[in-house]
Symmetry: C2
Subunit: 196 residues, 2 copies
């Protein structure tokens, strides 16, 4: 396998890139090595050296604890539980959560054999037991596994001595969504979540 083939093979393993777009990307990089290829190689190396998982919340950042955990303006009594770092990034882009996070690193799944011991639940429990956590927001996906995980966590948190308030993100019609384009499950959830 030549260097070109190897580069295409590695690029095609990225989410969102198939063999065809990996070839186009490799060609774009190889056509401008100074402007595109070397900067990307350097950025990957820098990221590998600098980025680590926050030991407090599981976020990926260049400092540990991460900038969210150390930000004095964030409400440490409000912990938002998410499945992955991508979910945390999405909430941060929307700038809708002023508390801190706990990244589970997955959801419970019978199919893939993910049990509670595979998720970062212990750090969450430790933070609650250390005191000062008022509310835990379960911001998990509206999937069977997400709902199962939310249910499990709500039960587990209720057994704690200093049990915090546990809430879940609302379900219903997404912003800009037309009713006739939605699936039955979303329509049912939206009707159930109706407000006066």
């Amino acid at each position: 396998m030549t260097e070109i083939e190897r580069l295409i093979a590695l690029l095609s393993r990225l989410p969102g890139l198939g063999p065809r777009s990996a070839r186009r990307a490799a060609l774009a990089l190889l056509s401008e090595p100074q402007q595109r290829l070397l900067p990307l190689a350097a950025a990957l190396g820098d990221a590998a050296r600098a980025v680590r998982a926050c030991t407090t919340c599981g976020n990926l950042d260049t400092s540990d604890p991460c900038r969210i955990c150390t930000d004095p303006s964030r409400d440490r009594s409000l912990v938002c539980v998410v499945e992955g770092v991508g979910d945390l990034w999405a909430l941060e882009r929307a700038a809708v959560h002023r508390g801190v996070y706990q990244v589970l690193g997955g959801v419970l799944s019978a199919l893939s054999g993910t049990g509670p011991e595979d998720l970062n639940i212990a750090p969450l429990l430790a933070r609650i037991e250390a005191g000062g956590v008022r509310e835990v927001i379960l911001a998990l996906g509206a999937t069977v596994d997400g709902a199962t995980t939310a249910h499990f966590l709500a039960d587990r948190l209720a057994t704690l001595d200093e049990a915090p308030l546990v809430s879940r993100v609302g379900q219903g019609v997404p912003m800009g969504g037309a009713l006739d384009a939605l699936d039955d499950g979303t329509l049912a959830a939206a009707l159930m979540a109706r407000r006066a």
Copy 2:
């Protein structure tokens, strides 16, 4: 800009990746630094060191002259002219050309101000004047600029002392294409190119 933001910015500049897929790709890389991020960084560095443009034909390869130019089984008297290395790769994947190539590095374009002096035409003329080129296949895109470039090259090659046969790739209905899904230009070209 942090290392993560810089990585996402560079990834999002690749063809086929927008900001959203660049974030997903960066997250996938950062989540598995040993398995994904470092190998890609190494592959980019290796490619930057090893890959260069063939001084004969303009192909990108790890040797110069490239493996196609030095392959004794290829017919050096049959030169296929393409716009870019991506076109050369496409023809090689299809394994339909047994000759060698000349990569122009673009097509004539009034809009982007690309003139004949911006294209690798001189190496092509030099190869023909050195003798032994029997046929030049103009495998350029069926666009206005591609047709203009083909026309220009055909005229230029006809003025040479040892003028080779000049041919163009056929136009018409693509394999698997339904007639009613084609544009008018393709239908017209297919009718013009009808054969008994």
